[in-house]
């Protein structure tokens, strides 16, 4: 367990944050403007015990901006809004869906699928919202 704690410290990646953009070749005045380190954890995670990082595999959610291999930051403690990306259990499996609210009824839709394949949440009470996706981490290069 000690090993894990240490791992967390490494996860806390901080980058010096400059208030001013500085032209190349004349860096010294910049040091006066270093305010604080930037902390990605505190930016991406508001409620640590309730936040999980999940890796996705597959291409069905490309149109909502989720690509193969991306990392999802999932918060279990917050309520989903209209058009929130959510993790939910459908047919005994965890899946990524979009929550859509229409005239007081909530539906789950998958990215590219047609409207007819949407799942009515009131008609399927066994389906629960596992968590709400707050950020997607996508490797660009």
């Amino acid at each position: 367990m000690a090993y894990k704690e240490q791992n967390k410290n490494i996860m806390k990646l901080t980058i010096p944050f400059y208030l001013h953009k500085v032209g190349a070749g004349f860096p010294s005045p910049a040091t006066d403007y270093i305010e604080d380190d930037i902390d990605l954890n505190s930016h991406l995670i508001t409620n640590a015990p309730a936040t999980f990082i999940i890796r996705v595999q597959g291409k069905s959610m490309v149109n909502v901006g989720i690509y193969d291999g991306d990392l999802l930051i999932v918060d279990k403690s917050i309520d989903p809004r209209n058009f929130s990306t959510v993790i939910t259990n459908v047919n005994e499996e965890l899946v990524v869906k979009t929550l859509v609210k229409e005239k007081g009824v909530s539906y789950l839709t998958s990215g590219s699928k047609s409207i007819s394949e949407k799942i009515n949440l009131t008609e399927n009470p066994e389906i629960i919202i596992w968590g709400v996706v707050t950020y997607v981490i996508h490797k660009q290069q």
Binding site: I10, M11, P49, I53, I54, V56, M61, L71, K76, E92
Partner: protein
């Protein structure tokens, strides 16, 4: 007003995770919800956690796996090898969630904690318990039971009742005796095997009977903690919440082998690995050790082979947390107790007489190298934390480690490591 306050009784809640290891496995695996599930101990040895469904089938806690294999097959029970990285992370999340209610908590084990709720109004306490339960379930996905009463011992009783209650929350205040009359003596917190034997011999077989025993008899026949239990059953708080973590005095790492081990070489690998793990642990806590014990044994149940068990303790000239020195001492010790011709089942090491690293008195024997080696150890710990345990190791630990743990049903999910994050197919 102050008079009323001082007569106010403590309120202590015990929060206990339901079938904790099973609940952890279920978090990312909805397929096994409402199905019989069992988690096995190290080396897939015994049942250490089971779901209600598995309990109903007749699978008992602590039973060896081979004994329940038939039941498992017949009832399609889902089996898991223990995944302590996952359970550890979820445990920390549960405890952190609890701390959002009160800082006054005592983490009692990986899946239990006491919380002081004395500041909560009498009429709100049951709802408060429900709120604790709901928040832990929502945030972490782990179901819990909450037992609340005036003492730690009674909160344990309350928790036992809450496990059977639909709401999962019990505030034990009225009719306590009714419950205590049905509460079996050996189920009481702090009453171990020996003590319950003694009580039963004297006709005390329920918590109610123990509560009404005479003080002189208890003091005469048991010890201080026995008397404390009796007082606690009467609603008088005697065992305080230990909210501060106590640094460990010793550190032990041991494992049973997946396959029996005969050669000294293989034992050396295992002892070295245990030594490295323990050294990393104490370094993390900024501690050093003065004494190291190595032990090995064969299986006591193997009737076809001779039994052998031995241990040796080596006192180090200078307290240290240096992996290389500790491994050297451990191997020397192992060579002294190793006997050829036995099939070893278990090996372990214990560091004792641990002290704070800063308390390290100046010692003429302390090599000047110590500073350098500390830097080396830090570099090793950092690299291993980053690239996975044993990325850097010592050659003695071996590469082909056939003695390693058997984990045939391992879920391989670690919510606290980028390497093994839960995966979703979309």
């Amino acid at each position: 007003m102050s008079f009323i306050n001082s007569s106010k009784k403590n309120k202590i809640a015990l929060i206990d995770c339901n079938s904790f290891y099973v609940s952890c496995e279920r978090l990312f695996n909805p397929k096994i919800i409402n199905k019989p599930v069992v988690v096995l101990s190290n080396n897939d040895g015994c049942v250490i956690s089971r779901s209600i469904e598995a309990k109903k089938i007749g699978i008992k806690m602590g039973e060896p796996y081979f004994k329940v294999k038939e039941l498992v097959k017949k009832n399609n029970v889902y089996i898991f090898s223990s995944n302590y990285a996952l359970y550890g992370d979820l445990s920390r999340r549960v405890m952190k969630t609890l701390k959002s209610f009160s800082e006054k908590i005592e983490i009692y084990s990986i899946d239990e904690a006491f919380v002081d709720l004395s500041h909560i109004q009498e009429k709100e306490i049951e709802n408060y318990g429900k709120e604790i339960r709901e928040r832990i379930l929502r945030w972490t996905g782990i179901p819990t039971s909450v037992g609340i009463s005036n003492t730690k011992t009674l909160s344990k009783v309350a928790n036992n009742l809450a496990k059977k209650n639909k709401s999962g929350v019990i505030y034990l205040k009225d009719n306590i005796d009714e419950y205590l009359k049905k509460f079996y003596i050996s189920d009481i917190w702090g009453v171990g095997k020996q003590l319950s034997k003694l009580y039963i011999k004297n006709g005390i077989d329920t918590a109610y009977k123990l509560k009404n025993i005479s003080n002189t008899w208890v003091k005469k026949s048991t010890n201080v903690s026995g008397a404390k239990t009796v007082m606690e059953l009467r609603g008088i708080s005697c065992i305080n919440l230990e909210t501060h973590e106590v640094k460990r005095k010793s550190c032990c790492v041991s494992r049973s082998f997946g396959k029996k081990v005969e050669s000294l070489e293989k034992l050396e690998e295992s002892v070295t690995t245990h030594c490295l793990n323990a050294a990393e642990k104490i370094r993390h806590d900024n501690q050093i050790t003065r004494s190291i014990t190595i032990y090995i044994r064969t299986s006591p149940f193997d009737k076809n082979r001779k039994y052998y068990s031995n241990s040796i303790t080596i006192d180090l000239p200078v307290a240290t947390s240096n992996s290389l020195e500790l491994v050297k001492a451990a191997i020397e010790g192992l060579k002294k107790i190793y006997r050829y011709g036995y099939f070893y089942q278990k090996a372990g090491i214990t560091f004792s007489k641990l002290t704070e690293s800063s308390e390290n008195e100046l010692n003429l024997l302390a090599p000047i190298m110590e500073n350098k080696s500390q830097t080396l150890m830090k570099a090793i710990d950092f690299t291993n934390a980053k690239y996975g345990r044993n990325a850097i190791s010592v050659a003695k630990a071996g590469i082909n480690t056939s003695w390693k743990m058997k984990r045939e049903h391992f879920s391989k999910i670690d919510t606290a490591s980028f390497k093994d994050l839960p995966m979703l197919k979309i």
